[in-house]
């Protein structure tokens, strides 16, 4: 047993070791893969360059700086047809994000409601919710978008129906909301003592908005402090002080005060010329996309919620009851914290799906990223290669951000196991 590692004969290198030697094999394979991959990309790029050369084109993103020349009906930042394609793309991107966020909110609300109701012991309600989930899950999104769009354009009255003595339609909610086949007009928030805007060069920021965000943020922070204080009191004395009315005050008063200071009032839509004017115009395309994506995805969310709640076993509830916890507290302290861990990851991947599905805006002419950068811009400039690649890249970045958020969440709430 006196042999030492040094005396073991070292083998000389033989080519067959490339394949049958642990040390070299994975290297061999990876080098082969690398070469294949490089070859493949070289081939792709060579083809592309040849094709571009044959067409007498170059590969450049200069077109983003050129004048767009087309109008966009829904813009969250200032835009007109004399601005650049790049800016048009940004307007489109913001529209994409807007409808994505709206649809995510709707899907969450609908999904949570339907998921919880599906578990209700009311047979009728549970049955209705099952029907909702199955119908929406098994019919393509695109069809839902088209159906809701068709409902909006076909079944709603045109603005002209609101006009004249013998108007066949009238506005809802004390003449503040008009539902027409061109979209829904709702009151818009206006400030008579506006604080103005900050010019950031390429875009403007409303100081009013900043102020509101700041105040809401502060209120939420203050409320957090209040709750923390309540917990501290509870820890010290065992009795948790009532906080709900204080919470409401803290959350509501400051913002109301700010709105009063800013001279907040609503601008109501009214019929003027061809259309309603004033108010905020929610276009059909937005509504169709928003509702279709929201309700369609809501069906999936409902299933996630349901299985999340079911995953928290009956035993947990019973254990909590046996300890004397009331149903409300049981929900808050035992069921929800556990169910959320199960529900939130699939929920976030549904958000991802919604974001990707907003590209179906194409079906209803909603001016999102796809139809500005990936549509009219490509059309006008003929830069489909650059435009498409850029658009994919933007979607990819959004997706990675969302799934990154999901991973962070998962890592945070992972249950500790042995």
């Amino acid at each position: 047993m006196a042999t030492t590692a040094e005396t073991f004969p070292r083998k000389v290198f033989r080519p067959s070791m490339l394949l049958y030697d642990k040390r070299y094999r994975s290297l061999t394979i990876q080098v082969v893969v690398l070469f294949l991959l490089m070859g493949f990309f070289a081939w792709l790029i060579d083809n592309t360059l040849t094709n571009l050369a044959a067409l007498g084109r170059d590969f450049s993103f200069r077109f983003l700086g050129q004048t767009a020349g087309y109008d966009i009906n829904q813009r969250l930042i200032d835009y007109n047809s004399q601005m650049t394609h790049g800016r048009a793309a940004v307007v489109g991107l913001l529209n994409t994000l807007l409808v994505a966020v709206l649809a995510c909110v709707l899907a969450t609300v609908v999904g949570v409601l339907a998921g919880v109701l599906r578990l209700s012991n009311n047979w009728l309600v549970a049955g209705l919710m099952t029907v909702y989930v199955e119908i929406f899950r098994n019919i393509p999104t695109l069809l839902w978008i088209l159906i809701i769009f068709a409902i909006m354009t076909e079944a709603m009255p045109p603005p002209s129906a609101f006009r004249g003595e013998d108007a066949t339609s009238s506005m809802l909610l004390w003449d503040t909301v008009a539902v027409t086949n061109r979209g829904v007009y709702i009151p818009e928030p206006l400030f008579s003592r506006s604080l103005g805007v900050i010019d950031m060069g390429s875009f403007l920021i409303s100081i009013d908005l900043l102020a509101i965000v700041a105040v809401v943020g502060l209120s939420i922070w203050a409320n957090k402090r209040l709750l923390a204080h309540a917990t501290a009191v509870q820890n010290a004395t065992g009795i948790r002080p009532k906080t709900w009315w204080k919470s409401i005050l803290i959350l509501v008063l400051p913002i109301v005060a700010l709105l009063v200071v800013l001279g907040f009032h609503l601008g109501y839509p009214e019929l003027r010329g061809f259309n309603f004017a004033g108010g905020t115009h929610l276009r059909n395309s937005l509504i169709a996309l928003w509702f279709a994506l929201g309700i369609y995805t809501g069906a999936f969310v409902a299933e996630n919620v349901r299985s999340g709640i079911l995953a928290v076993s009956k035993g947990q509830t019973e254990a909590a009851f046996a300890l004397g916890l009331r149903p409300g507290l049981t929900m808050r302290l035992v069921i929800l914290p556990q169910a959320l861990r199960v529900i939130i990851p699939p929920l976030i991947s549904q958000y991802l799906n919604i974001t990707k599905n907003t590209s179906l805006a194409l079906a209803v002419g909603y001016m999102d990223l796809r139809s500005t950068l990936g549509g009219i811009t490509i059309n006008q400039t003929g830069r489909e290669l650059e435009g498409m690649l850029l658009m994919m890249l933007i979607y990819l970045v959004i997706s990675l951000l969302i799934s990154g958020a999901m991973n962070v969440y998962n890592a945070r709430v992972k249950l500790k196991e042995r």
Binding site: V33, N51, N121, I147, S403
Partner: protein, 432 residues
């Protein structure tokens, strides 16, 4: 009974009590109603609200279907018959159902896609039911070629020669494998490609001129409607399965480069909307291919859809692989099985079985997403509904078409998902 009260006295029951009927509140319709519908003011309110919703839906839908008009040849005619009442104009379905189902596929050949679909179920059976003879798997392997020939037609020698490519590969592998295993693998990969690229065309041409057998050729631009959804969906999912499995294995590999490539690929595909991939198929693919190559749009779409589905399948299969206990890998290793054999014989059969629900969900999602091809000019059911509406006689018809298309998709997707749940239960019982 009173004797049980005494603390230490023993108690024995001599006669067992019979089962007594439950009190009225605990059984029958009363209990059911009380428990399910009216067990509190909240529940009662929900019940009433649901009843209202159901009534409202029925009140709107029933007359619409009740007054349905079948025998009209245009919307105007239909409206005339309805005479102001609300009602469905199902005449459009009677007039155009064949288009919605088959597109412009020649009517005298409708039996071909139908037969292909029927055969599909036959081909699936050996894969799903392990108690059928293994030999039947050959039929499943042949199915793609049969289906291709049924759908597109043309010379029968084209699919035959294409299938022969695999035979050539297998032959090469057989012949070389006694000498060098690596050489055999390479040969098995290279010879079919050589066959397809160099020999296949000539051989097929020669055979065709000698024996011109085959069905009438149907061009892919005649494909449409539900048929195109099925063709894209089914070929997409079946082609993406092997690719997805490879990606999943790659993603689990301990070779850094291989793993990163797979991860990047999967995350890229999953991060962009399908629509952009379809646009790539229709707009950009020609840039990436050698000058002058151009092939069928449906084929390009199938390629893109395959790549798309493969990324999702890869994730599903990865879940299945992760769910297998480590012991299975070790047992396979300890028996001396090499990587590919242990994957093929031990790991994948189990991992794929675990993944069936996920695969089916991916398929249903993919199938619904085939409607997006309307954006690149293919006539899927939604595309056809636009085309039908462009016809002067059916200008302005919406709901009937949407409902018909929706019902088609619903029946198909719901059916599949239920069937897969049934299969799952069956399979999970099978081996216990």
């Amino acid at each position: 009974m009173s004797d049980t009260h005494a603390r230490t006295t023993a108690f024995v029951r001599d006669t067992m009590l019979p089962e007594a009927p439950a009190p009225i509140a605990q059984r029958g319709a009363v209990k059911w109603l009380r428990e399910n519908l009216f067990s509190g003011w909240m529940n009662t309110a929900l019940t009433l609200a649901s009843l209202y919703v159901i009534w409202w839906l029925l009140a709107h839908i029933t007359p619409w279907f009740g007054n349905a008009v079948w025998n009209a040849n245009s919307l105007a005619e239909c409206r005339a018959i309805l005479d102001g009442r609300s009602g469905a104009c199902l005449g459009v379905i009677r007039d155009r159902w064949h288009q919605l189902l088959f597109g412009f596929y020649p009517p005298q050949h409708y039996w071909r896609p139908v037969l292909a679909l029927v055969l599909l179920f036959g081909a699936l059976a050996p894969m799903l039911f392990s108690n059928l003879p293994r030999r039947l798997l050959w039929l499943s392997a042949l199915y793609p070629f049969v289906a291709y020939h049924l759908l597109w037609g043309g010379s029968i020698w084209i699919p035959v020669v294409a299938a022969a490519g695999f035979g050539v590969g297998a032959l090469a592998w057989r012949l070389i494998t006694p000498y060098t295993a690596l050489g055999a693998i390479l040969a098995a990969l290279v010879t079919p490609i050589l066959w397809w690229v160099l020999a296949a065309g000539a051989v097929a041409g020669a055979l065709t001129s000698v024996a011109p057998l085959g069905l009438e050729f149907v061009r892919s631009d005649r494909f449409g409607g539900f048929l195109i959804s099925l063709v894209i969906g089914i070929s997409g999912i079946s082609l993406s399965l092997p690719l997805g499995v490879l990606l999943a294995l790659g993603r689990k590999s301990d070779m850094l480069l291989l793993r990163s490539v797979c991860i990047i690929f999967i995350e890229f595909i999953r991060g962009v909307p399908l629509i952009t991939l379809l646009f790539t198929a229709s707009l950009l693919l020609n840039y990436f291919l050698p000058p002058g190559t151009s092939f069928d749009l449906i084929l390009r779409v199938i390629i893109m859809v395959t790549i798309f589905a493969a990324a999702y399948i890869a994730e599903v299969v990865r879940g299945g692989l992760a769910a297998l206990p480590r012991g299975q890998y070790e047992a396979a290793d300890s028996l001396g099985l090499d990587y590919w054999r242990s994957m093929r014989l031990i790991i994948l059969p189990q991992a794929l079985k675990i993944s069936i629900p996920g695969i089916v969900n991916t398929f249903i999602g993919l199938f619904k997403d085939t409607t997006l091809v309307v954006f690149i000019g293919l006539l899927d059911p939604i595309g056809l509904s636009n085309a039908i509406r462009a016809d002067t006689s059916w200008n302005g018809i919406y709901w009937e078409l949407f409902i018909f298309i929706g019902a088609l998709f619903f029946v198909f997707c719901f059916g599949i998902s239920r069937y897969s749940m049934y299969l799952e239960r069956k399979l999970s019982r099978g081996h216990r």
